[in-house]
């Protein structure tokens, strides 16, 4: 019995992992079994079913029926509904296929996801249609003027000869084709990788936030004109380009006038009359101040019909970098450091902190080669930016500040994520653990050195290294960006440098605290290196805050106060990170997991708390630990 228990003790970690795996598998399997219980309810329409009717496989035809229940279609089921009325909703998951043919009527909603396919012809849908995740939907000759279509992620939609109330587009990919259709409101909100093509259709109001990759082609009534819109933040100019056709085109000649309105106020009039190649036109609209604005283009055709297209542009306010608060902060930090040094000196004279200074100095001297390497490494993003800007400017000419922001933010995101890990581990992981392993530490503690003095001598040296490294990184980003940008953006670039420095500090301090903690607490050097990596992987929220801050808007780089305001709008990440890890499992279990929205002060508090907590824990545990 003793032997068995000893063996169990020896293999306790693999046994624990196995148990977790088995429990996880059981939960997963259980959730699938639950779904399978619904399968036997197919084609029984005589009485209402509590959980709806589920089709999981086979080709099912529902013809001349009135179905009161919800219909759930999933897996490989292929369902056709002909001349029928559905009083419930239709839900389609996991490659489910539904063909509604001829004069059918769905009184409620259609919800589809996960590679499902929907083809609707000459039918009506009373509620809304929701398409997600690689689904494919085609509406052909469907007159549903009150229906709203929601398109998410990589859903593909074709509307042909149909009419809708609203089409709302979100997500990262997918294509929408609108052909010979009429829609009251089209709202395009997804990423530019999601494309929309409008051909010979009538859209009363288009709200397009994803310019310029949507294309409008074909004979088109002048209800919408949003094509190739771009704006520059610093210059606050909207470049409008559009293509238009008169309704009665006579011999290729167009007799048309365009009126431009900014915030419902007349702005300009353009005579668009001419032959075909003059139908396209462009105009620059100057936005007077940041905030939400609408720009309308009214097209007046040869018959005097007026068609209005409106776009809404929200220009984020990027106030200039606030140097005064920045310098006040720097002065306060410098004051705190000076005050601390004076206080420590005084205490030293009374016999306290006697070794902190010596250890700090020795650590810095010992780490000078490492610091030099880190400083040289920090030139990397600058070099990448330099060559990127060089190539871009040679191809497209000058770069607007938005483009500069995008590129810098992308490189900084990657840099901080990986550099933070490399920096903290290379600097901190072996610092205490190696000294413990080779016996230096036990020898060192035979001197009049308090343990916390030893630890904090090192920690202070790391902090100085972080500051020096981040100064180098900031300079690198500034120098890498400044050579190929318009001089009007120099102030912005310098601001970016300032914020990169601050972001670096906020990022590296907690990471280094975790690494120092691990180096101090664990007796094996391998653990000191390995555990922080595991922690960073298992708790990506710690490091995902900062890269997520560096998203395309880059608001944090332009204003000290705006940075703190916008910080709170950053989610922990619904793509990766903590939510990404647990979100999908939550979905399997039917638990809705919502990404967190943190306030700026919360993020700062979390980062500072992590730093203080790990440094304090390291100090407390180290104080009472046996040093072999």
């Amino acid at each position: 019995m003793i032997e068995v228990s000893q063996k169990i003790k020896k293999f306790k970690i693999p046994i624990l992992i196995l148990c977790l795996f088995l429990v996880g598998s059981f939960i997963l399997q259980y959730s699938i079994l639950l779904d399978k219980n619904l399968e036997n309810l197919a084609q029984d329409f005589s009485t209402p079913h509590q959980n709806g009717i589920t089709y999981s496989s086979g080709n099912i035809l529902i013809e001349n029926q009135t179905v009161q229940d919800d219909i759930i279609i999933k897996f490989t089921a292929s369902v056709s509904i002909v001349n029928s009325t559905l009083q419930g909703s239709i839900y389609m998951f996991n490659i489910g296929g539904l063909f509604v043919l001829q004069t059918s009527n769905i009184t409620q909603n259609v919800v589809m996801s996960d590679l499902s396919t929907l083809f609707v012809e000459n039918s009506t849908i009373g509620g809304s249609i929701e398409c997600r995740d690689d689904t494919s939907m085609e509406l052909f000759d469907c007159h549903t003027p009150t229906t709203t279509v929601w398109k998410f992620d990589s859903a593909n939609i074709i509307l042909n000869g149909s009419n809708l109330a609203t089409l709302n587009e979100f997500g990262i990919a997918g294509i929408i084709h609108i052909i010979n259709s009429q829609i009251s409101l089209v709202s395009l909100n997804g990423l530019p990788s999601s494309r929309t093509y409008i051909t010979n259709s009538n859209i009363l109001f288009l709200n397009d936030l994803v310019v310029p990759l949507n294309a409008i082609t074909g004979p088109y009534r002048f209800s919408v004109l949003t094509f190739n819109i771009s704006y520059s933040t610093s210059e606050r100019i909207i470049n409008l380009t559009w293509v238009g056709w008169d309704s009665p085109i006579i011999d290729g000649y167009l007799n048309i006038t365009f009126e431009i309105y900014l915030d419902n106020q007349f702005y300009a009039e353009i005579n668009g009359s001419g032959y075909y190649d003059l139908y396209s036109s462009s105009y620059q609209v100057h936005i007077p101040d940041p905030g939400k604005h609408n720009v309308s283009i009214v097209s007046i055709d040869s018959r005097g019909n007026r068609y209005t297209s409106t776009i809404i542009i929200e220009q984020i306010s990027y106030p200039p970098f606030q140097w005064i608060p920045f310098f006040i902060t720097i002065v306060v930090i410098a004051g705190l450091i000076t005050g601390t040094i004076i206080w420590v000196k005084k205490k030293q004279n009374r016999g306290y902190f006697s070794s902190v200074g010596s250890i700090f100095k020795t650590e810095l001297v010992a780490g000078k080669k490492k610091l030099l390497i880190l400083a040289i490494t920090s030139a990397t993003p600058g070099i990448i930016l330099f060559f990127s800007f060089m190539v871009i400017t040679s191809l497209v000419g000058s770069i607007a500040i938005d483009g500069i922001r995008d590129l810098i933010s992308m490189i900084l995101s990657i840099y901080i994520l990986y550099f933070g890990l490399i920096f903290s581990i290379s600097v901190g992981a072996g610092s205490v653990a190696n000294a413990k392993k080779n016996g230096t530490l036990s020898w060192f503690f035979s001197k009049p050195v308090r343990r916390w003095e030893f630890l904090w001598g090192k920690i202070l040296a790391f902090m100085v290294m972080i500051v020096i490294t981040m100064i180098c990184v900031s300079i690198s980003f500034v120098l890498g960006s400044i050579f190929y940008v318009d001089p009007i953006y120099f102030a912005d670039i310098l601001s970016i440098g300032g914020y990169i420095f601050l972001i670096g500090l906020i990022a590296l301090l907690p990471l280094t605290a975790i690494v120092v903690f691990s180096s101090s607490v664990f007796k094996k050097v391998g653990f000191a290196y390995f555990i922080p990596i595991i922690v960073f992987m298992a708790l990506p929220s710690i490091i995902s805050f900062l890269p997520m801050l560096a998203r395309s808007e880059w608001p944090l780089l332009f204003s000290f106060t705006f940075y703190f305001e916008q910080l709170g709008k950053v989610w922990i990440s619904n793509i990766g990170g903590l939510f990404g890890s647990i979100g999908s499992y939550g979905g399997l279990l039917g638990i809705e997991i919502t990404p967190l929205t943190l306030t700026p002060s919360t993020i700062i508090v979390i980062m500072v708390s992590l730093t203080i907590a790990f440094f304090s824990l390291a100090t407390i545990i180290f104080q009472k630990q046996d040093i072999p």
């Binding site: 200074g357 010596s358 080779n438 016996g439 230096t440 036990s442 020898w443 503690f445 046996d626």
Partner: protein, 313 residues
């Protein structure tokens, strides 16, 4: 009665299920004190508890009358010097920089630090290698710089952990001479080793023998000789009569020519018996002498006795 420099009270250290040091009571009053024991006996663990690197599971250690883990730890550390078995100081530093660093830890004034470095490097015969980085030193030189760093604060007590175990005979002798010199200068030296003749060469004032973390014996070499069995040699033409007479008292008797050799701790009693036999039988005793054991014999006998459940303090 001198105040003890080091005194342990029921010192015990457990590493999970392993008892490394078991209820150890030592008392060091000065001079050279050797802590002897085979590998794994608990010598290094004891020393690391002495310098405050390991915390005792039970019991306590007093240095200069103060608990090493009490409020006077820093004051104690200012009065001791420690040399570990494997010198792993800042190997990338030169000897001079290492000693300067140690000086800064002791908050020594710069001029005093420089003077002290010169003196110490001369003492350990490393003046010529002062600007060489320690990593390039030989094993003997590393141990000597180890002693120099331990002496930087002019400590009253030197704690040395098997410092000669990796040295060649020349290196060992240098260290031994150095320690004898330091003893003359009034330092107390606590040294652990399993190389026993060194302790004898150092003229250790006291030794303690430990095994499995337990104290087997403690005292001066003479005291231990007294306590352990002594060798008695009787040379006589009729020694067989003596053998018969002594067989009831001593079991371990060997004959070599005219000689009887007895290993016993009862030499006084044996003399009485031998004298009686000689008088009663009128036998001439050519020689009767007792000899002491050398330290190695003491050590081996002490371990044997411990295994037989004999002497355990």
């Amino acid at each position: 009665m001198k105040n003890p420099i080091i005194q342990t009270f029921g010192l015990t250290k457990n590493f999970k299920d392993v008892v490394a040091v078991n209820n150890l009571n030592l008392k060091v009053t000065g001079g050279i004190y050797g802590l002897l024991g085979p590998n794994g006996a608990g010598k290094t663990t004891t020393i690391k508890m002495m310098i405050g690197s390991l915390f005792p599971t039970e019991g306590r250690i007093e240095l200069f009358g103060n608990d090493i883990n009490g409020k006077d730890t820093m004051d104690i550390h200012k009065r001791i010097g420690y040399v570990p078995e494997h010198p792993t100081y800042f190997l990338s530093m030169t000897a001079e920089k290492l000693l300067t660093y140690i000086g800064s830890i002791f908050q020594m004034p710069i001029q005093e630090t420089k003077r002290r470095i010169n003196d110490l490097l001369r003492l350990v015969d490393l003046s010529d290698a002062r600007s060489r980085i320690i990593a390039k030193y030989s094993a003997g030189m590393k141990q000597r710089i180890g002693i120099a760093q331990a002496l930087m604060n002019d400590p009253e007590l030197l704690i040395l952990d098997e410092i000669t175990s990796n040295l060649d005979p020349v290196g060992r002798n240098q260290i031994i001479e150095l320690l004898k010199d330091l003893k003359k200068r009034g330092k107390t030296i606590f040294i652990s080793t399993h190389i026993l003749p060194e302790i004898q060469k150092m003229n250790a004032d006291s030794i303690a023998i430990i095994n499995h973390g337990r104290l087997i014996m403690e005292g001066s070499i003479d005291e231990l000789n007294e306590e352990l069995k002594t060798q008695v040699i009787i040379i006589s033409p009729n020694h067989k009569l003596f053998r018969e007479g002594l067989s009831s008292i001593v079991s371990n008797i060997t004959e070599e020519g005219d000689s009887l050799i007895l290993n016993t701790e009862k030499s006084d009693k044996i003399w009485q018996v031998v004298a009686n036999i000689s008088l009663q039988n009128n036998i001439t005793i050519k020689e009767f002498r007792t000899t002491g054991l050398d330290i190695e014999q003491i050590f081996m006998k002490a371990l044997d006795s411990e295994q037989l459940g004999g002497i355990v303090k």
